[in-house]
Each structure stands twice: as structure tokens, then as C-alpha cells.
């Protein structure tokens, strides 16, 4: 999930993603939406006197500690369900696939 925000050109950095096309005074598209801007784009926009950009801002990142804790809870629960068969050859594929599936669901 991401939201958009408008930045003064001076604060824009290479790698940011445009949420809306950049237009010149005549309404012509200089750069399309969804473009990852580069230093040379920024240089060109400065030359053309563009003042602001609308970029996609990633949503507030989840605290890494939080993610790590949830991953550990999920892992512990799966290992508990498999507590008698964790070393069984017949269970290995299912155990690891369920661990991966549960971790994927956290994203």
C-alpha cells in the first residue's frame, strides 16, 4: 500500500516513484506516472522550472521488531503443531511449505 505526497523539487531524490505525470505549463507530459525518477530527470525538471512533484510514498513501514516477533510467533505455532513429527521424513515437505505459507501471509 502506498499514498501520494507532493514534494518541492529540491527534496526529490533519484529512485522515487512518480504518482502523477509531470506536466509543463502547456499541459504537455514531461514524465509519465509510475516512473522511477533518475538524477538526469531531476536535472531536466530543474532546467524547465518545475517546482513540485507528486510521488508515491510508501506506507509507514512496520517496525522490523514487530515483523520479527510475528514471524517468530508463527514459526513457534507451526513447530508446536508438528511437535511429534518435526524430524520425520514424511513431514518435511509439509512442514516447510506451511512455514513458508504462514510467513507469506504476514506480508
Amino acid at each position: 500500500m502506498s499514498e501520494t505526497r507532493t514534494l518541492p523539487l529540491a527534496e526529490a531524490l533519484p529512485g522515487m516513484l512518480l504518482a502523477a505525470p509531470v506536466l509543463d505549463a502547456g499541459g504537455n507530459v514531461l514524465l509519465p506516472a509510475a516512473l522511477a525518477i533518475t538524477e538526469s530527470h531531476l536535472e531536466s525538471l530543474r532546467r524547465r522550472g518545475i517546482a513540485t512533484l507528486t510521488i508515491s510514498a510508501p506506507a509507514e513501514p512496520v517496525e522490523p521488531v514487530d515483523i520479527a516477533r510475528k514471524r517468530e510467533e508463527v514459526r513457534a505455532r507451526v513447530m508446536h503443531i508438528f511437535r511429534h513429527t518435526v524430524d520425520d521424513p514424511g513431514s518435511q515437505a509439509l512442514l516447510h511449505a506451511v512455514l513458508a505459507f504462514r510467513q507469506e501471509q504476514l506480508k
Binding site: 503443531i81 513429527t85 515437505a93
Partner: protein, 280 residues
């Protein structure tokens, strides 16, 4: 143990149990093939409102992604097909028609969540492996039906089995064998034989814990894996859920690779969210 019943005692007493609704038995018999009178069956299903309402709840769930609401069993058959509706009706009939009785420590909701999870996992495995999805859904749905019969006929003995399994943190099936001298697989097979179910379903019930003993090419290996998948995905929502021991050669022989297994898990989870609507 003098109070230990025999399987024969058990089966004699099963006759006093509430049976499945007649229309469900008829539907089960149409699994063997033949040319069912779909219109007449649909009319009869519609007369059982408890079943029809549950079926329509699932038919209208996001899993089927229908553009407009299905309002009757007849419409559900037209839109989803007879086979899909038959599976749903059987599931609803089994859930509503076979109450768990009163047995200390036995949680019917937990039981049905596990059963429904096994049925949808078996269906999902079937589609992935090119096996018959409907027979496997039904086999999953009925795989632990013997346990329900044991709960109803011998509630005190079964309560003791549950307590011991909990105390020892071991498989309930091992304790069934110890206390009763037989387990739920034998009861389930005998019960479904009485219902005249197709032999492949009886075989799957009888051998879902020992798939290596089932009929070659039979359904037991898939129900064996589906049972474990349902436990592994935590559908029971119970603290002491325990994945049963899997038979390695059986699992290998299914030939399901990592990608296939991952897809089955995701698909099973999605199906479960819809099918659990049958539970009430």
C-alpha cells in the same frame, strides 16, 4: 479390561443412531454413477430448509465469485452444476444430521472444522493430481465419521480417551486402540459400508492412517495427506492440535512438488474460508 466393547457391540448400537437424511443417502448413492434425476433431487433438497440455507450461504460466498445471488437450490444447480451442489448438500447434511452427542472434552465445532478442512484439502489435492475431486471431498468429509459414532455410542469411554490423549500429548487414535480395541477408521468403514457407499470411499476411511494398506491406486493416500494439511493449517484452532505421522513413501508417491504443495495450501485456505460457512 472387562468394559471394553467389541466392534460388533459398537456396530449393533450404531443402528440406534440418528441416520443421515434420506436425500443425503440418495445423493451418496449417485456418486457411484448412473443417471440421477437432478430435478427431483433438487426439489427434495430444497424441502430441507436447514440444508438448503447452508448450501446457499456457501454458493453465494466469494469463493464461487458469482455475479448475482443464487436464491434457490434449483438455481445453484444451474449455475454451479449438479456435482458442486451435491458436495455442498452432502456436507450440510452430514453437519446438521449427525450431532456429536454429549461427551466431556469433545468439541463438535473443532471436529467439524477439521473435517471440513480435510474435505477441501482433499478436493484441492485431487484437482492438482488429476484425481476425482468429488469422491475425495466426500471421503474427507467422512474420514473421521467413526469418531462421531464412538462419541455418540460410548461418550464416557471416549471422554476418557480424550483425557488420556491430552495428558500424554499423544495421538488420539493410539488411545482409541488402547481403550476400545479398535479405532475410528474401523468404525467409519463399517458405518459407511452399511450406508452402501462406493468401495473407494470405504477404503479411504479404513486406511487414511495406514495408506500403505489401502487398495492400490485408491483414495486413502490423498485423504492421509489432506488430514495432515488440515491439521497443519490450524483449522481446528485448538491448542493441542497435532499433525499425524505421515507415511513417507505414500507422500513421495503422490509426486507433489514444492510449487504444487504451496498452491494446494493457498487453495485449501481459500476454500476453507467459504466452506466453513456450512458450519453454522
Amino acid at each position: 479390561m472387562s468394559e471394553q466393547p467389541t466392534l460388533r457391540d459398537m456396530l449393533a448400537r450404531i443402528q440406534r443412531l440418528p441416520a443421515l437424511p434420506a436425500v443425503a443417502l440418495e445423493l451418496l448413492n449417485t456418486l457411484s454413477g448412473g443417471d440421477p434425476d437432478v430435478a427431483s433431487l433438487a426439489r427434495r433438497i430444497a424441502q430441507d430448509q436447514a440444508i438448503a440455507a447452508r448450501v446457499l450461504r456457501v454458493a453465494n460466498s466469494p469463493f464461487y465469485g458469482l455475479q448475482s445471488r443464487v436464491g434457490s437450490i434449483h438455481d445453484a444447480v444451474v449455475v454451479l452444476g449438479f456435482s458442486a451442489v451435491r458436495s455442498l448438500v452432502l456436507a450440510a447434511a452430514v453437519v446438521t444430521g449427525l450431532p456429536g452427542g454429549h461427551c466431556a472434552g469433545f468439541d463438535p465445532s473443532r471436529f467439524w472444522r477439521h473435517v471440513m478442512g480435510t474435505a477441501v484439502a482433499a478436493q484441492s489435492l485431487a484437482q492438482r493430481l488429476g484425481r476425482p475431486p468429488e469422491s475425495l471431498f466426500v471421503a474427507g468429509l467422512l474420514h473421521d465419521i467413526g469418531r462421531l459414532a464412538m462419541v455418540s455410542v460410548y461418550p464416557e469411554l471416549f471422554a476418557r480417551a480424550l483425557t488420556i490423549a491430552c495428558e500424554r500429548d499423544c495421538s488420539l487414535r493410539d488411545v482409541e486402540l488402547e481403550i476400545f480395541g479398535f479405532d475410528h477408521t474401523a468404525v467409519g468403514a463399517a458405518l459407511t459400508r452399511r450406508w452402501n457407499l462406493p468401495e473407494e470411499i470405504i477404503d479411504a476411511l479404513a486406511y487414511h492412517h495406514q495408506p500403505e494398506l489401502g487398495a492400490p491406486g485408491g483414495l486413502a493416500p490423498i485423504v492421509h495427506y489432506a488430514d495432515a494439511i488440515s491439521k497443519a493449517l490450524d483449522f481446528e484452532e485448538a491448542e493441542d492440535t497435532l499433525v499425524p505421522r505421515l507415511h513417507p513413501a505414500t507422500i513421495d508417491a503422490l509426486g507433489l512438488d514444492w510449487q504444487g504443495l504451496s498452491a494446494v495450501l493457498a487453495d485449501t485456505q481459500t476454500r476453507f474460508e467459504s466452506y466453513r460457512l456450512l458450519l453454522g
